[in-house]
Amino acid sequence: MADARSRPPGGVTVNAVAVPARVASRSLACTDHKRIASAACMAAFVFFLAGGLLALLMRSQLAANGGVVSQQTYNELFTMHGSTMVYLVIVPVALAVGLYLVPLQVGAAEVAGPRVALAGLWMLLCGGVCMWSGFLTSGGAAAASWWGFDPLSDSIHSPGSGMEMWIFGVMLATLGQILWAGCVLSTALRRRAPGMTLMRMPVFTWSMVVTCVMVVFGFPALLLALGLLWAQRHFGGVLLGGTGAVDYQALFWFYGHPVVYVMFFPFVGMVGEVLATFSSRRFFGYSAFVVALLAFAGLSMTVWAHHMYTFGVLSNKYFALTSTALIVPAGIEYFDFLATLWRGSLRFTTAFLFALGFLVQFLIGGLTGVILASPPLDYGLNMSYFVVAHFHYTIFAGSAFGLFAGIYYWFPKLTGAMLRERFGKLHFALMVVGTNVTFFPMFILGAEGMTRRIARYPASTGWQGLNILETAGSVVIALSVLVFMANVLLSLRGRRGAGDDPWGGHTLEWATSSPPPRHNFDALPPIRSYAPLLDLREAREEVSG
């Protein structure tokens, strides 16, 4: 039992009682948001390794131009690679980091609905196991791509249990994500500490609020789409005629495009925190940033049909308008980032380098998105490797770099140990090289007409050279992941103590111990802005000099 009552001058007392648990249930069924989030991150990392292995197999196939796996196996590989990375890795990690940090950043003793958060974790685990167990079925895993379009995914074109397992797995994982988003959103909106007004919430918390709003109000469309798909497979007559398949796609993309921003906003928030801390400056343009995030989130729920331009069924002009309008809030966010760096006292730590990598590489992904937002250009590039390059630049070169910035920044808070900076910089260098060597040639191949999801291509096209280069790049990425794993293991074994606030952080999580206690805080400092610890430091500096 933990009962904490100490009161700093001008601060508030945290008053929480924790009931101890048996050791066995503590690890399997703990309702502490920090443990749930850590378990989710570890599970997602295992899935990331598995999904990465599938990517290496695909790259080997394309480098050799066939002969490694069959066409059917290749279909299963890209389906499970995409499904794993979207449903089991990036989205869960984005939400799990929010689950860990948001209660700490708003000064709450625990997350709202801890049992619900635990249920979310187990749904994710059950969903992942279910999805991957498709490989054990006689017909193999699902092979209808990560979006499972009808009629490719119906019982005629995708017979067998693999597709069924995929549908149930995705449903469970998505349901778990909706539950997490509900918990994080409720915590940010209704569990804030006294003094923590909406406009004093940290940048990362705001990014999680808009993310969770999108998850809660956008993701149910996927559950509905998958429910209809399952009914179509078993009973038929659900997705029929000329509009059935289009209706499925409309429902799917109402999830499928917002999910791209769900895989983006949390990392924008992480990068914002990292840039402000390592520039030793207050985050620039906080209010404009918050408004831009909210506007961005709304707009990103109204662009989904740009994935369906070539159908010519929905209003392309409207979706081209909203897709292009995304540049405005994105521009405000980039301006805020750059202005935060401007005249800052920069510290080039690994976290900071990854944040800079995010800024530069995501820009490439974002600008090529502007090309794809234009219907005439999209007609030429749709289903080509240009699209593959675009989304890998946003999700891997962008979000994954943002995630690693967050990992290097908050790892000391999570574990109480510092990650090795030298290893971290090697990890960063290898990732930059690997990412660009793997994904940049895809723009060229796409522009030359190489289509997605092909296991072989005619030798006369001359694409093999660039494919071999991409495969070499993917091996470098794998190497960088090994360096990261070695860094984590080494840092945990030969611990270098981090202390409560090793970086001079701005937000409340740095006011508690590393790792934080079960009830998060023994005491909170006064909260007078979105950077309460920076306020304290500035006040001390004023007094001392």
Partner: protein, 135 residues
């Protein structure tokens, strides 16, 4: 009041406004219906949160003196095996939809055990809170 509802209501209205712009472009029903439902549910959720906040503010008014000392005491449960049981049961029942009634029944049985466990945990929690309150 903590004004949390403002976020949901404003964002829901913003999504509604963006959806309404489609009227100019002669949209298909489905492309209007999906975001319209999402925006309506978001506004509705905002109104629910607003009502909860108003009720909470009324309840807490007599306790202002206590509030000044910090937030209300909360009981933090450390683990919930029942929740895990419930989720595993529901997952099995869902997968059973593809594999047969036998798996649905097994899943439903495990889920029922989980529900019982959650109720038991809630009762234990209430008892603990009462004991803490009476001290």
């Amino acid at each position: 009041m903590r004004r949390a509802a403002v976020v949901l209501i404003c964002w829901g209205l913003w999504l509604g406004a963006l959806t309404a712009v489609q009227a100019v472009f002669a949209p298909k029903l489905i492309q209007v219906a999906i975001p319209a439902v999402a925006s309506a549910v978001c506004v509705l959720a905002g109104l629910v949160v607003w009502a909860l906040d108003v009720r909470q503010a009324r309840e807490e008014r007599p306790q202002l003196a206590y509030q000044a000392q910090g937030e209300r005491p909360r009981l933090i449960t450390d683990s919930s095996v029942a929740t895990v049981t419930l989720v595993v049961g529901l997952a099995l029942a869902l997968v059973g939809a593809g594999f047969g009634l036998w798996l649905i029944l097994i899943g439903a049985g495990i889920a029922a055990l989980g529900v019982g466990g959650v109720v038991r945990e809630q009762l234990a929690r209430s008892r603990t809170l009462q004991r803490k309150g009476s001290r």
